[in-house]
Symmetry: C2
DNA sequence: TTGTATGCGTTATCAT
DNA sequence: ATGATAACGCATACAA
């Protein structure tokens, strides 16, 4: 069974395709009877306009490109969830592409998205991305871009991020308020804004509570498989070791928990542990880990809204670009989880 | 900067669009010099063929529709990862849509996908889906469908599923071999094949080891928020309570762990717990939970391969449909995790 | 109120 | 070896 077109309707009803087209779009210049006739028939044979033909005509695809490092990652899958919800509601579809933390893949993927004629791009850059020329290039080709979570200071686009400074401040503050004094801070290398912001929040909290900033306690770890454990070991082996760990990234927080367990370091008796995470089972971890949870879904939601706004603004070049605070930051939630370990 | 078309190239080079088109496709009927001229120029001005125009002409979109209950779910996001990898490699893109476990949404979503002219559909049906008329309808419209994970016996399509029987058998066998005799089995309502298969694996293991099948120990729980805890309570309060819990679904396994914790039931001292799960941090749970892990990525991979095969077969109607075992089942992995809880 | 013709970007068919 | 034209499905400017 082939798809039915306007032509089929026109032929069946002895009308021209333009009449049918206009009737279907409820144009004022078509008589009510003809409209009814056409509409009914279209309904009956289950006519569905071909969006591809429309796209060609209108030079828009109604597709948003979403580029993330990984789909199979709690933060990003939740963000995509938020994006998809908004897109669906506004009549857009979402094409999802992964970079696998590779700049090379990211460049290819961005080109692919443009080649696919997406109406706009939502991107969270890979950890390798220190140069954003590929993004600036497509921006010059007039493709609206919104960045989220992993954003670059060098891009002049809307940016939707979690309140990384605030979340980091709150986590550090919590540790201080529960009596910790030597708080290790571990993050990924600091060329991404997200890292810088989290470091700044940590520093600000220390400063506000009159604690010294000790560079020995601040470490940056790459994306290799086995890079974290030695760093945790080094920290524990310091002459004056930390009494708390603040792990500024999801993966690091979970890795730290494993590393501490392997070293038989008790939490929170010996050291306290808090991390940014987006896993849904943080309660069930051993021990339950206090976490700063980023509002992934809301970030996706906001980013998609902003992008669609940009896209639809582009259609009517009359309207002025609205000025907005940039980047938009969305509050994190801080979950303090007490150990519920049962007595033995 | 507008997108450059074949016309632009033709105009610039004083050629006809057909010559340019042929040159770009490396047709034998174009002179080498012209080819080089066109290719070089196209390269220089960064010509990208418009896939929308191609789609219209070729009546195919090179898009796969993927319909899942939720994106933000470890199993599905991993499966999508597998799908995306294959699609990318084969020159397809993936549009992802969610049903949120609602049949109503599923019906709408399937229609949307067809309206979008996807070349084929990968679907994992919602838990509400007891009737598959909407899928049969689009199958009659000649849209290739492959089902994965949550499949329906009433659909005549390729089906890619985990080895639910085998995984369930292995989990039950493990519990028996570690000395458990009264093994509770909890699953979602049994109209989905996936549930039936898991129940059958459980029954088969009991039978093989000469244990009785006790209906009191088998429970089905719906998708409500607070349905599980009372069921766990009931089981624990039986005159002859279970000494092990086998939770046949991810969500149930995690919920059971919480419920047992709330009841202060020690694992594995008092009861053993094993579940199907796809979370990546199962090691870090308290206690570490033994799990049957479905090969989500491989399921996605296989499903996408099968779908693309169907799609490309449809193009050349000469070739016969290959007969394949149906459904295809992919082995699970059983992870036995010993408690590593440190002494206090 | 309805019909005819044109164009969106591309390729296939049929000239030349 | 290259060019002109039609067609994919739709919307619209222009005619009637």
């Amino acid at each position: 069974m082939e798809a039915v077109t306007i032509k089929d309707i026109a032929r069946a009803l002895n009308l021209s395709t333009s009449t049918v087209s206009r009737a279907l779009r409820d144009s004022y210049e078509i008589s009510p009877e003809t409209k009814r006739l056409v509409m009914d028939y279209a309904e009956r044979i289950n006519y569905q306009p071909n969006p591809i033909a429309l796209s060609l005509k209108e030079n828009r695809s109604r597709v948003l490109g979403v580029i993330v490092p990984q789909i199979a990652n709690n933060f990003f899958s939740q963000a995509i969830n938020g994006i998809e919800a908004v897109a669906y509601e506004r009549g857009y579809h979402v094409i999802i592409m992964q970079t696998h933390e590779s700049l090379e893949r990211e460049i290819l993927t961005v080109q692919q998205a443009v080649a696919r004629r997406v109406d706009g791009l939502l991107i969270s850059i890979s950890s390798q991305t220190t140069n954003v020329a590929h993004l600036q290039a497509i921006q010059q080709r007039n493709v609206p871009i919104v960045m989220f979570d992993r954003v670059s200071a060098e891009m002049d686009t809307p940016k939707i991020v979690a309140d990384n400074f605030g979340g980091s401040f709150a986590a550090t503050e919590h540790l201080i308020q529960t009596g910790r004094r030597r708080i290790a801070f571990v993050a990924i290398p600091p060329f991404m804004a997200i890292t810088q912001d989290r470091l700044a929040g940590y520093q600000a909290a220390l400063s506000q509570y009159g604690l010294p900033y000790d560079e020995d306690l601040v470490r940056f770890v790459g994306f290799g498989e086995h890079e974290l454990a030695p760093i945790i070991d080094q920290l524990l082996d310091l002459p004056h070791p930390p009494d708390a760990f603040f792990m500024a990234f999801d993966r690091l927080a979970l890795g730290c928990m494993t590393a501490l367990r392997n070293r038989n370091v008790a939490i929170p008796e010996q050291v306290s542990l808090i991390g940014f995470t987006n896993i849904s089972v943080a309660d069930l971890l051993d021990p339950p880990m206090s976490t700063v949870v980023q509002p992934a879904q809301e970030i996706g939601h906001t980013a998609a809204e902003r992008l669609i706004e940009l896209i639809e603004l582009k259609q009517k070049p009359s309207a002025p670009l609205p000025t907005r605070p940039n980047p938009v930051s969305i509050p994190n939630q801080l979950f303090i989880r007490e150990s519920t370990r049962r007595g033995v």
